[in-house]
Amino acid sequence: MTSSFRLPTGGRVDRSTELAFTFNGEALTGHRGDTLASALLANGVHQVATSVRLGRPRGIVAAGAEDPSALVQVEEPFPEPMLTATTVELHDGLVARGLPGQGRLADEPDPARYDAVHAHCDVLVVGAGPAGLTAALTAARAGARVVLVDEQREAGGSLLGAPERLDGAPALDWVAAAVDELTAHRDVRVLQRTTAFGHYDDGFVLALEKRTDHLGAQAPANRARQRVWRIRAGHVVVATGAHERPIVFAGNDRPGIMLAGAARTYLNRYAVLPGSEVVVFTSDDAAYAAAVEIADAGGHVAAVIEARAKAPAHWAEECARRGIEVRTGHVVTGTSGTDRVTRAHVAMLADGVVGPRTGIACDTLLVSGGWNPTVHLYSQARGRLRYDAALGAFVPGEEIDRASVAGSATGEFTLAGALRSGHDAARRALASAGLSTEGLPAEPELPVTDPEPPAQPTRVLWSVPDPDPDAGHGDQRFVDLQRDATVGDILRATGAGMRSVEHVKRYTTIGTAHDQGKTSGVIASGIVAEALGVDVGELGTTTFRPPYTPVAFAALAGRDRGVLHDPVRVTAVHDWHVMHGAEFENVGQWKRPWYYPQDGEDLETAVLRECAAARESVAMMDGSTLGKIDVQGPDAAELLDRLYTNLMSSLKVGSVRYGVMCGLDGMVIDDGTVIRVADDRFLVTTTTGNAAKILDWMEEWVQTEWPELRVHLASVTEQWATIPLVGPRSRDVLAAVAPDLDVSNDAFPFMTWRDTGVAGVPARVCRISFSGELAYEVNVPAWDALAVWEAIFAAGRQWGITPYGTETMHVLRAEKGYPIIGQETDGTVTPQDLGMAWVVSKKKDDFVGKRSFSRPENLRPDRKQLVGLLPVDGDVLLPEGGQVVEVDALSQPPVPMLGHVTSSYRSAALGRTFALALVRSGRERVGQTLYVPLEDELVPVTVTDSVLFDKEGSRRDG
């Protein structure tokens, strides 16, 4: 098909480039500067899609983001659903098709990059139309840091779609000069193809820049396809223009029915004649320009159907000069046509009564019911709206902090007014951002506009009555084209008693589609108000929420995808673990070695081997992720006494003590070791996952409750790498790498620490054990960790030293009944519940949590307590999280549940499976048989003490 509707001259398209594209399987061409919509219209294609519910043919209604109807799926270069043809910039090789209301997500990962950039400015101007450009120029000339964002490929706004003149020359000359001046300013950033989609607190605006979409397959792969700008502005000038408001009538959805202003844009900006036989239906002056310009461009305008009793004199004259009939007091009541409108049904409308109809043949019907200021961004920032009855539109109310509205977004629709309001808004913005306006001339230097004809008030007409409601085709007065929602649907909602537009919106789904009701929302309010006999202003409109236009999740995710999705924290020994085949476990953001499979071992086999090494010879692990906090100051011991359940002030320098912290409610929040470095200095460890939380917790007490304590806290989690060395042979290995250390039990007893050289590196070695075995923990500065690790590994080789991961660590500690915070505890477990009453000091007057231990709830004998469970069949591994019940057959629910399995493992040392569980009155139940559901069975288990291995602790000293 040839571009038969493209005019030979004019417009902003580059006729020297021919772009080949495919729509619905048909090969077509367009030009650089086209949207998919303008290129389709140039090819005479009006029907784009079919509607979601009724399958009715649908076409192109608007020329921008407000289009409610022309939904397409882009297939190439990459599948992307639910775009409007009016916002897809044409590029060579584009393949798209119309959608039946719903699209298809790509089933492969999007290869494109997306990113985000923070920007700061004194004044952010949204919209590069006449008001926005004036605002940006004014602010820039005053020396402000300015960001100007505009969603089109080039600046100009409404001037792109109308043959306006400024200073006696084409207005676009002024636009070009303005852009040149702005881009020459060092402190001005102009972003085209960038839609501000969210306006939040404190001058924060999110904008989506489409950076390479228009390049199609030529888009460089390294360049972000879309970018989210995170703009923090001293003041925001919203110069977003206005959306034309349609009038609803029966059959108003046929392809070829278009907003009059959109037709002007296609004509003037894209040099496309929207049709050959045109009827214009209007209740507003602006549509006459469309009629006149189309006639001048060679289209035939059959008639202007003027809903008002009188046509504006200037335009009536212009029409008469071109032989265009103007029928005043008339409306379009309906249309005919299958794939496109072929006839407009026209009748007199007086006092709500439709007169006899006549038909006018047409292939294009242009509609205008006035204009709605694009108040979305203003309203998102909590700007209040006011109903302007003369405009039939909601306009910004009083100004809000850090935002002003300019141009037709205020309801000021003249060009001169827009320029002036852009200037004034910039001055307010400068004042609000605390900038001087002294450099600006007293009287603004604004371009001179041509005189505008006197305006005649808009007639606010939401919908035209259906003259033939019983025709049997159902209501065809579509309010929301994308949702196939009609006037009848609204009346059903109000008939059912709904009184709020928010309720009507949710009942009818009007305004909930991709366009968020840009053309339908105000009309819906108007129709509801009419139905209820209330004032539209009092009824209000639905809430404007971000995003203004759809934003892909990929763009919001930006570069926080894949490996960058969340920081991956690694220890100083990480590369060694990788080289030695470790499987990793995520613990918070850390990657921790989980187990080290050898020769195709599975988890179970590897863990049994690693456990056996720790119990029978020697094993080592990377414990560097443990949280570590340096506590320093004369009151350090006092602070720890207040925060731990047990006494820390009695700890001797050189010794180590295990400690538990509780919340105010007496529930365990963390545990770890405390070593006393000096009288006034301790090093405490926290669990891996709680490191930051516990430091915050301690700081909160120090800073907010006890500022009198002379103590300071510092995180040293990553200062120190920590290497637990575990097993009967650990002493031999340590002796080999720490030649200056007397490793004998007497010289270096359990729960003490020593500073010494390990592999030539200054180290702190603690004799502590999380496995019940003879064990040490070697701490060295993180940057020496790999060397020390390798030295220990080499020294232990003769005893078969075995690196082990978190899974083995868990088994070893569980065999000893040691709880893991967050596994055995869940914020409802006291130390007593864990069988650790011994860790709760009776000597201290107070510590955090103490008072709660005597609350009746915490003294109940039937609290859940930590016990061991031994499945009667020692091969059965209980599921962690499995419920514990008393009965051997499940009755009808509810089945009383006694607790749950917290840990469950296969034990090399025990030669069987075992579990830990929190069980109601658990300690009283030792010896009882209880049951745990596993698939369809109830597995019998024997309740035992939580310590299952080496109850006497005989292995601790080697």
């Binding site: 939040y200 607190d201 404190d202 924060f204 995170r230 923090r232 105010l664 409610d665 930051a692 915050d696 700081e699 909160e700 800073q703 907010t704 409750e705 500022p707 007057d845 107070d846 103490k850 008072r851 709660s852 005597s854 609350r855 009746p856």
Partner: protein, 92 residues
């Protein structure tokens, strides 16, 4: 993205902060003598007004200092910030 003015570092994005609940609720000294109900009130109950509310915040990604803020719970607007130990300012 709201800005919160750390009284030490100045305005920063809200993601740098953590919330710490109602301010000016002192840890009761000598709490052994409190009744279970009094202790329960302290541990579990806090005010939840609509309107200005004095709260603890910590600039966790910044200077790690706890401070207090008066925030309007209806609008999220932060009406005042003040350092630990400073009295609660009078806000309109």
């Amino acid at each position: 993205m709201q800005l919160i003015a750390c009284p030490h570092c100045g305005p920063r994005e809200e993601t740098e902060f953590h919330y710490g609940g109602q301010a000016h609720v002192a840890y009761p000294a000598g709490n052994a003598t409190l009744s279970d109900e009094e202790w329960g009130q302290f541990v579990f109950f806090r005010d939840n007004p609509k309107g200005p509310f004095a709260e603890r915040w910590v600039h966790s990604a910044g200077c790690r200092r706890w401070f207090n803020a008066v925030r309007d719970t209806a609008t999220h607007q932060i009406l005042a910030v003040y350092r630990q130990g400073e009295p609660k300012p009078v806000v309109a």
